[in-house]
């Protein structure tokens, strides 16, 4: 086995094990209520850490384009709700801003 395949398989293991373990450990067990609460907060804290600060450098060459793009998603999700339109709209806003700045360069 060449070293690149060894790397891929090792990476597969260290990626898969953290994904699998909680399912083996948690299913069918009655957890203490404070732990349940802790686990229920994780989606919010995880989203926060996934969004900030990465969002400010999503388009490194023009941070304004990513911030305004995300702004669209924020406003649309707030008033209308729905993920698909939010995502497509923010991509479009970012593209238009990049387009206005650069013109059509390939």
């Amino acid at each position: 086995m060449n070293s690149q395949l060894l790397l891929i398989f090792s990476m597969m293991l260290v990626t898969y094990i953290p994904r699998l373990l909680p399912f083996i450990m948690i299913l069918e067990k009655k957890l203490p209520s404070r732990l349940v609460k802790f686990l229920q907060y994780i989606p919010y804290t995880a989203l926060g850490a996934l969004i900030i600060p990465g969002v400010f450098s999503a388009i490194p060459e023009m941070p304004q384009a990513s911030i305004l793009g995300i702004g669209f998603s924020f406003v649309y999700a707030w008033y209308r709700g729905g993920i698909i339109v939010s995502v497509l709209g923010s991509v479009l806003v970012s593209f238009l801003l990049l387009f206005m700045k650069n013109g059509f360069v390939f």
Binding site: L7, L20, E28, P43, T45, I51, I59
Partner: protein
């Protein structure tokens, strides 16, 4: 309300839109770094973890050893342990047989979508969500390796916001009906920024520490009577 195959596919569409351009970028970069198409696709088929795959390419390019790359990957993916633990509490026992397969498909995006889904998470729902994410990732990699060069840079750049836009669109409805959601999220984002830039901590650790610390603070400061409507 039970969520089935159709709900999974509809909810998977934004993930699909977000993954394809990133996977294309991975395909292009792996070609530039000089690894074979087979290896590039094997990365996406077997590892299926965006950030780790990019960092692996970067470290390969810099001539890092396997040990270092594997350790970095483990650190970066430890957050999925926390996410999986959170999601596992929402998954019913009849899914247990499928959990090895479900676990393989847990990514930041699948976790975020499934966590906030109202109603019962069935195996059809979660597996179709994951399947859409997976085919986007694998086919994007192939596409990027073969034909990535023809995409204009502006198109690729603008798609960099897609997944962030999705995270925001998931968070906002929660924040509207539940004050604590926005407090927890912002606090965690600020903590992450502080550890990342203030203490120059690697991304994997700063995300894990932010999740642990702020969730823990949330438990400490929550009043006992509060009942979370998690549905």
């Amino acid at each position: 309300m039970k969520n089935g195959l159709n709900d999974g596919i509809i909810d998977g569409i934004p993930i699909f839109i977000g993954y394809v351009p990133i996977a294309i970028a991975f395909g292009i970069l792996s070609k530039n770094v000089g690894i074979s198409m087979t290896d590039s696709v094997l990365f996406s088929v077997l590892v299926f973890a965006g950030a780790s795959q990019f960092i692996a390419l970067n470290l390969l390019f810099l001539g890092a050893g396997i040990g270092e790359i594997v350790l970095t990957t483990l650190m970066l993916n430890f957050r999925h342990f926390l996410m999986g633990a959170s999601l596992a509490t929402k998954i019913t026992n009849d899914l247990k047989r499928w959990s090895p397969l479900i676990a393989f498909g847990i990514t930041d995006e699948v976790f975020s979508v499934a966590s906030f889904k109202k109603g019962i998470i069935t195996k059809k729902y979660i597996l179709s969500l994951e399947f859409l994410a997976y085919i986007a990732w694998v086919s994007g990699t192939v596409l990027g390796y073969l034909a990535g060069g023809i995409l204009p840079d502006m198109v690729k750049s603008s798609m960099g916001v897609a997944l962030y836009a999705m995270f925001v669109a998931i968070l906002i409805p929660e924040a509207k009906k539940y004050n604590k959601a926005i407090i927890l999220a912002i606090l965690s984002g600020v903590t992450n920024t502080l550890f990342r830039y203030g203490f120059s901590m690697p991304q994997g650790w700063s995300i894990v520490i932010s999740i642990l610390l702020v969730s823990f603070l949330g438990v400490i400061f929550s009043n006992k009577e509060e009942v979370l409507k998690y549905e």
